[in-house]
């Protein structure tokens, strides 16, 4: 069973979003995603200030096994990236919802939560994939 915090929103691409008090959104990959990828060895991060569009490539996480794109879950502008991942990509394996966060962005419009998954909906997605 993979860990699945109840205070986050999720995507079909196995990413999570946390809405911060200042209006920013923090994004990472889920526990399920890191387990499927295996040991992370490299993370390619975007530039701060870069604009991203929903569904567009935003970062790349590479494991011993494969490279996997991280997509922007909402439209916005990158406000921070987790520089520590450059030297220690395995933070994503060890703590996917905490120290393993990947980018923070300022959404350009109100977030349409109906386009994202609640914890329950994401759990259903995982259950379907298991089946």
């Amino acid at each position: 069973m993979s860990e699945l915090p109840g205070d986050l929103l999720y995507t079909n691409d196995h990413e999570w979003l946390r809405r911060e008090d200042d209006g920013n959104v923090t994004i990472g990959v889920t526990d399920h995603a890191q387990a499927a990828l295996g040991d992370l060895v490299y993370v390619e991060l975007p530039e701060v200030g870069q604009d991203v569009a929903t569904g567009g490539d935003m970062a790349v996480v590479e494991s011993v096994k494969a490279a996997s794109d991280v997509y922007a879950p909402v439209d916005g502008t990158i406000t921070a990236v987790n520089e520590e991942l450059a030297d220690d990509p395995e933070k994503i394996n060890a703590d996917p919802y905490g120290d393993g966060w990947i980018v923070r962005l300022q959404p350009s419009a109100a977030i349409d939560e109906s386009a994202l998954l609640t914890p329950d909906a994401y759990q259903s997605l995982l259950d379907e994939e298991e089946a």
Partner: protein, 363 residues
Amino acid sequence: MGSKTPLYDKHVEAGARIVDFGGWDMPLHYGSQKEEHHAVRNSAGVFDVSHMTIVDLKGARVRDFLRHLLANDVAKLQDSGKALYTCMLNEAGGVIDDLIVYFMDESWFRLVVNAATREKDLTWIRKNAADFDVAVHERAELAMIAVQGPKARELAAPCIDAEWREQALALKLFTGMEAGDLFVARTGYTGEDGWEIVMPSMRAPSIWDRLIAGGVAPAGLGARDTLRLEAAMNLYGSDMDETISPLEAGLGWTIAWEPADRAFIGRGPLEKLRDEPSRRRFVGLLLEDKGVLRNHQRIVVEGSGDGEITSGGFSPTIGRSIALARLPAGDYDSAQVDVRGKLLNVRVVKTPFVRNGQVRIEV
């Protein structure tokens, strides 16, 4: 649902992530591929390789048959148990498979061939064996494990019956022996010392348990791939296939050209390619920039054209990305790789990257 080895339940018990590999349900890793990799480099790990195909060939003319079938020459095998790595070629000189052949006795040789190529290998071997009255027996009832690492033989020795233990520990590199109902050989696919042990399927789970209890780490296909890549050992289907000659896959050293009158299958086309100046190079690459080299990435060599990575990945031992690649002919020691549209710098290096726990390239 794929085929299962006699150790499948052991893998599940140990928490393995199971993946399909050539129709077999095999362990990819048991938690951390990198830790399994390091365990083999620094201590000992055990791989289930029961999916591989063991074929016993028997008959009075079996040596003649193999001198015809294989590009390396089994005439080199004179002592019982001695092993040889070789390619089996088609008429065009392309690689049908790479394999290890063991000389057991004058009327019995044993082959260990890849799992994914099992059917075509057996078909090809049987077709050619008919003229030599050689009987072809697949030994699907046998299991096989590879115990690899600097401490592998020491930690695996208790699994060998006492009667045979000392002799097994004295085995020279690339040599095997029968030890009761086991067959033990000092071979492997990691660049470390160790044994490959063939056994009746029934004995496999208890031998596995004993190794794990003795401190040997279970290791999956993921670590097997990064270990063999660091050791610059080819993977069939990635580094070579039926359209590729051993000469363009870094396997020229496995072709026995002498005696010149040995007419092994594929010899004619190989001789032509041997003297061809445009013959492609097969090299090791080290990524100088940040990122990870992957299979099929395009390599750009200024003034010479394009090549391709045949096996790429991250080297846990070196902490950088490395690859094997087929490149255009020419005398150059640097190139660029196309990673998602960006050109990164790679250096051509002499392989192996790692052998016996030591990094062998300049980083």
